[in-house]
Each structure stands twice: as structure tokens, then as C-alpha cells.
Amino acid sequence: MLHALVLILMCQLLGEALARGLGLPLPGPVLGMVLMLGLLVAVPRVVAVIRETATGILAHLSLLFVPAGVGVVGHFATLGDKAVAILVAVVASTVLAIAAGALTFAAVARLTGAQDD
């Protein structure tokens, strides 16, 4: 677990440093994920080192959004008199985008024969 945490935090740290240093529009943790993926591909031995800890963190991924969610409640006022219109736009666009994305994926997978196992 110790080594797993060191590796995960180091990828994040490196990602943050690269994102800042190079002025990239991506957040540090997303770059860190790319770096970690590169490390796993290059050194497959690392997979066994991080598996238990990474799986543990991901098992409760939803929990990690609770503090930000609580912050949002206090900001409902910033929506102002356009609140209903904005809510309609958020809900409708989310429905449309999930449906369009999933249907496109399935259609192209069928056309190109990229079926799953």
C-alpha cells in the first residue's frame, strides 16, 4: 500500500508540474493518469504493486464528490432568475448527450465490426 501510494502521488505530482510548467490546458491529475498508464504499459510489474490500493480508492469514487456537492448547494443562488432555464438545459443536454454518445458508439462498433468479446 505504501509503495502504491508513493507511485500514485508521484504521477499526480509530475502531472501537476508538467501541466504548470508547459502551460497545458489539462489538469495535473488527468496528466498523472496518462503518466501512470504509460508506466503500467512500460513496466507491467507495477500493476501488481498498485492494484489493491487503486481498486480500494476507486471502489468509493462517488464519496469523493460529496464535499464539492455540498459546496454547490450554497451556490444555487448564483443561478438567479434563469435557474429554471439553466436546469432544463443541463438535464435535457445530459439526456441527449448520453443517448447520442451511446447510440453512436454502438452503431460504429457494428459498422466496423469492433464487437466486444
Binding site: 501512470m36 468509493h60 455540498v70 448520453i98 462498433a109
Partner: protein, 238 residues
């Protein structure tokens, strides 16, 4: 004996009280989720947020005091994002085979998410800064906030809209995709990740491991795509 008010004022200043409350509220939300037979309409994040918001309101606790404790949970978002590399690695052989569907769904999903949101809001009389804040809402929070700043939006409003989009996606994805008869877990997960970032990805992991891995991929790719799509969509406005 020390009275209750004194104990309260001591505890409410440290991180322990609200850290415990955050974990307990989520455990309660998760218990409700399981008791409801894992119904997608009973969202553990939504329940935890509601319980905590009521607690903060009843105790007149400012968000900054709450966050002293909650920051430890919040901080783990970074390491968790890095940890998403593991499920991605596990699905790499299947990802290579799904390259074309992934790219097509990314373009369509990202354009639909930003485009339809801006179009609907515009049609309902919303304008200017709010539209710019709305456009990047499907990207993961730190990316969306950065993009919003670049295109003249309000970072605070974008943060609110990102969370709303995530929770909406997490709640509606399963019933919506069942209604569409979608059986491909890759397609289901990927669309949810593109549209509702980490909150959707967390939900996808609860439903199916393949959906979770593809959702993580969708979230990562849309963080990049939204940087291009959001300014493009805004430029189409009259």
C-alpha cells in the same frame, strides 16, 4: 462536567467532526442505495449532499468550516483520477479494438453535450456569460473551470453546473440506456463518462466494471475535446 455547547464549539473547529459527518452521510446514502435494490434513482452522493446541507444549515456552520474536515476526502479526487489508469490498462486490448467507435462517440457526445445545452439555454432566453459558463459543463471540474475562464464564463457557476451535470447523468443513465435497449457495456460506460465526467464514471463502476473503465476513458478524452468544442459551440451563436 463540560456542557454541550463547549464540547460542540471545541469539536466544530477541528477537522474530525465534519470528516466523520461526510463519511457517515455517504455511508447512510450507500445504505439507502442498497436497501432500494441499487435503484439508480436513489443516488448515494445526492443523499449525502442533502443530509450534510441540512446539517450545516441547522448548525449554522459555514462551508469553509465544513471544508476544513471535508478537504481530506476532496483531496483524494486527484489520486483517484490517477488510479483510473489501472482499469484503463486492464481494458487496453479491448480499447484498441474499439478505437473507431470511441472516437466517433467522443465527437458526437462532446458536441451534443455542449451544443444542445447552449442551444436550449439560448432558446429559453439565457445569454452572455451564463452560456459561456454552460458550454464546458460536461468536462471534469478543474478542466471545465479553466475552459470557462478562457471563454468568458464564470468559474463558480461552471463548478455548480459541472456537479449538476454529473449528478443528472449518474441518476438518469441507467433508466435512459435501458429504455434505448443499449446492451453494449462499452457504449453505455463511454457515453456516461463523456457526458457526466467523474460522477458518471463513479456510477458506471457501481453498475459494471467494463462500463466503469470505458467511462474513465470517456472522461479523460472529453477533458481534451471540450477545450476545442466549447469555444466552437459558442462561436456558432448569432
Amino acid at each position: 462536567m463540560t456542557d454541550f455547547a463547549e464540547i460542540w464549539s471545541y469539536l466544530s473547529q477541528g477537522p474530525l467532526l465534519w470528516l466523520t459527518a461526510t463519511l457517515a452521510a455517504y455511508a447512510l446514502g450507500d445504505a439507502c442505495f442498497r436497501a432500494a435494490g441499487r435503484s439508480p434513482l436513489v443516488n448515494p452522493v445526492l443523499i449525502a449532499v442533502a443530509v450534510l446541507a441540512v446539517l450545516l444549515w441547522l448548525t449554522a456552520t459555514p462551508y469553509s468550516t465544513y471544508f476544513v474536515g471535508a478537504q481530506f476526502v476532496h483531496f483524494l479526487l486527484g489520486p483517484a483520477t490517477v488510479a483510473l489508469a489501472l482499469p484503463l490498462f486492464d481494458t487496453l486490448p479491448r480499447l484498441r479494438r474499439a478505437f473507431l467507435p470511441v472516437m466517433a462517440a467522443l465527437v458526437v457526445g462532446s458536441l451534443t453535450a455542449a451544443g444542445s445545452a447552449v442551444a436550449i439555454a439560448y432558446a429559453l432566453g439565457v445569454d452572455g456569460q451564463i452560456l459561456a459558463s454552460l458550454a464546458p459543463k460536461s468536462a471534469t471540474a478543474p478542466v471545465a473551470i479553466g475552459i470557462s475562464q478562457n471563454i468568458g464564463g464564470s468559474p463558480t457557476l461552471t463548478a455548480v453546473l459541472v456537479i449538476l451535470t454529473g449528478i443528472t447523468g449518474a441518476v438518469i443513465a441507467t433508466p435512459l440506456l435501458n429504455l434505448l435497449g443499449m446492451k453494449d457495456w462499452r457504449a453505455r460506460g463511454f457515453a456516461v463518462g463523456v457526458t457526466s465526467h467523474g460522477i458518471g464514471t463513479a456510477r458506471a463502476f457501481q453498475v459494471n466494471p467494463t462500463a466503469g473503465a470505458f467511462a474513465g476513458l470517456g472522461m479523460a478524452l472529453n477533458a481534451i475535446a471540450t477545450a476545442l468544442v466549447a469555444p466552437f459551440v459558442l462561436s456558432l451563436l448569432p
